[in-house]
């Protein structure tokens, strides 16, 4: 796996980018020059003030420091991204393992359910649900998590289907092992790396979903995320004030984190997914298509 990482500089870049974002989120109170919660006195000059030594990225419509909001906003984006994908991984992993390993009627029913979730357009459904249950941070996490597990489920199912035919599973059965034991000790450890790689990819999708919802005004109003910053800037005249800094900073933040997760996820998936791997004797130069161009199918 380390060798794979070394061979893939993009993965290293992604890990570095993700690391920076994590540091920013963790140490936000120390890194941010201003406390966004603080009440401030605002004069007309402070609204959408240009970037200056005092405010490196300028100020927003409320006269608040954009850089501080940006650093604190990374917390929300990453929290939503990680928590929602954790939920997705749990649901997707469980559905995929059960459907793949037990198969039969239960497996079919679960896969039809997966198909249903797969064909429903996520965004409108998310908007409807969030509008109904109210836009709190945990509601958003739950909605994104509950709607994002289909890809994981399909991939885990495919892997479980092939693993259960392996001879060591038959051997475990001959040893007197029951289904649960085989699932836990023989199937799960071999599916786990793939699930981890997939989860990193789901993180980027979750962050995008959160940003989208926040931008549409369905974010948690009490916490400022990057999507929320964009929403405020967009709806409160940043464009007519030519305050590009209020839009560019959160936009680039989203791109940064999503790109980082995608790079890391793709690298991990290449390392773990046997379908994307060429034979170990096969030289890289002999390959017709590089594995990074082949999309993983469920």
């Amino acid at each position: 796996m380390l060798a794979q990482l070394r061979r893939s500089p993009l993965g290293v870049v992604g890990a570095f980018m993700l690391g920076l974002a994590l540091i920013a989120a963790t140490f936000a109170p120390w890194l941010a020059p201003y406390d966004p919660e603080q009440t401030i006195h605002v004069t007309i000059e402070d609204i959408y003030a240009r970037p200056s030594a005092e405010h490196i990225l300028g100020t927003d419509d409320g006269g608040n420091d954009v850089l501080s909001a940006f650093i604190f906003g990374s917390r929300v984006s990453l929290l939503v991204g990680f928590s929602a994908s954790l939920i997705s991984m749990f649901i997707g992993g469980a559905v995929g393992l059960v459907a793949g390993f037990y198969g039969g009627r239960i497996g079919n029913a679960l896969m039809r359910l997966t198909d249903i979730f797969l064909v429903i357009p996520d965004l409108p459904l998310m908007i409807v649900i969030v509008a109904m249950v109210g836009p709190s941070l945990w509601n958003i996490i739950l909605v994104i998590g509950i709607l994002g597990w289909t890809g994981t489920a399909r991939m885990v199912r495919a892997q479980a289907l092939s693993l259960k035919e392996r001879q060591f599973v038959l051997r475990a059965r001959a040893l007197g092992a029951g289904n649960f034991h085989i699932l836990r000790r023989h199937i799960f450890p071999l599916v786990l790396p793939l699930m981890v790689a997939n989860t990193v990819l789901v993180i980027s999708l979750s962050i995008l979903s959160e940003s989208t919802l926040s931008f549409l005004g369905l974010g948690d109003p009490t916490t400022l995320s990057w999507g929320g910053m964009l929403n405020f800037a967009f709806t409160r005249g940043a464009i007519s004030a030519r305050a590009w800094w209020a839009l560019v900073a959160p936009g680039l933040g989203i791109v940064w984190v999503v790109l980082a997760c995608t790079l890391v996820g793709n690298t991990l998936e290449e390392a773990f997914n046997p379908r994307l791997q060429s034979h170990h004797l096969q030289g890289e130069d002999k390959m017709i298509a590089s594995p990074s161009h082949i999309q993983a199918e469920g």
């Binding site: 001879q167 060591f168 051997r171 040893l175 000790r185 071999l190």
Partner: protein, 327 residues
């Protein structure tokens, strides 16, 4: 089919089918045999003649499409086909274990070998503590000639022969009475083959095991087995002691099979192969399953399947031609 002593394992009229979209495959039909304590039984036949299916039926490990349609498998007088799933799980490995062909595939690549051997102990509550389990694993590995400290290595760090030894160690973990060795020496070179067979023989002697050796190699059978069961197309062709099979084969298939093996004392002789193919199990001939390839075929063979018949005490064969001249 009665013999003097009560056998350890007795299979009576076992029939197994595979039900698939392409029809019903009659993989094993009316198979009966006995395994006495301390006996080495050879199960011989071409690839695809139902040897492995028969053994998986005995252990009730058939894939989803496989169905045992009739018969009894008596282990110490108890029909294990009647046990429920939980009882069956408890029985497996404690009484009967299996050494699979191709040890690489039978070991989980991401877990170390010792851990996988200990799995059997844990599943059967035979490892009260981690240390006791580790000690037993070491003991088992030493028994098959592997250093105990290699227990924490992974299957890919073992050679082919060592993996097979590890599988044997695993098979012995719960001290079973019956060990089924399903082609334990395929995919190994001749030297390692000989070592593995020697090991099996030694363990059989020392531990008083009863072993069913599934193979298509008659020389292996001649070396270690007491009794031989020759299968053809899912049915018993001939069942007798190893001496009788080699010196006086009754079934034409056994005879051809023996001729198809090289004889070291007559190196110049041409090797004869059996013409034709084994029957497709979903499209079986109406009469004897061997009739299309049999050199001694008569009209009756093509119409009426021969019954499994006791030719003389301790000797069974399935052929119409045997009653006429004893051949």
């Amino acid at each position: 089919m009665e013999r003097a002593e009560t056998p350890l394992l007795e299979v009576r009229h076992l029939s197994t089918n595979f039900v698939t979209d392409e029809g019903v495959f009659r993989a094993v039909e009316d198979l009966s045999f006995q395994l006495r304590r301390g006996e080495f039984l050879g199960l011989v036949g071409e690839s695809g003649c139902g040897k492995t299916t028969a053994m998986l039926s005995v252990l009730r490990l058939l894939p989803a499409a496989g169905r045992i349609v009739s018969g009894e498998v008596l282990l110490e007088g108890e029909d294990i086909l009647k046990l429920d799933a939980a009882e069956m799980r408890r029985m497996r490995w404690r009484k009967m274990s299996i050494i699979f062909q191709g040890a690489m595939n039978a070991l989980n690549p991401v877990r170390n070998v010792g851990d996988q051997i200990a799995e059997a102990l844990v599943l059967h509550d035979m490892a009260p503590s981690r240390r006791r389990a580790a000690a037993r694993v070491g003991e088992l590995l030493e028994l098959v000639g592997i250093d105990a400290d290699r227990a924490d290595q992974f299957p890919h760090q073992y050679s082919g022969g060592m993996r097979q030894r590890a599988m044997i160690a695993m098979a012995l973990a719960c001290s079973p009475q019956v060990v089924i060795a399903d082609e334990p020496t395929t995919a190994l070179d001749v030297m390692i083959q000989a070592q593995i067979l020697e090991l099996l023989e030694r363990l059989q002697r020392e531990l008083g095991l009863s072993v069913i050796l599934v193979t298509h190699d008659l020389s292996v059978v001649a070396e270690v087995c007491h009794d031989v069961l020759v299968m053809y197309g899912g049915v018993l062709a001939e069942y007798a002691t190893v001496d009788e099979i080699y010196n006086e084969p009754l079934h034409p298939y056994t005879r051809l099979l023996l001729e198809a093996f090289p004889d070291l004392s007559r190196p110049d002789e041409r090797m004869i192969s059996i013409p034709g193919q084994p029957p497709r199990l979903n499209d079986l001939p109406a009469g004897c399953r061997f009739a299309p390839r049999c050199p001694m075929v008569i009209d009756r063979c093509r119409i009426e399947p021969p019954p499994v018949r006791q030719v003389r005490p301790g000797r069974w064969a399935t052929c119409h031609r045997i009653d006429e001249a004893g051949t």
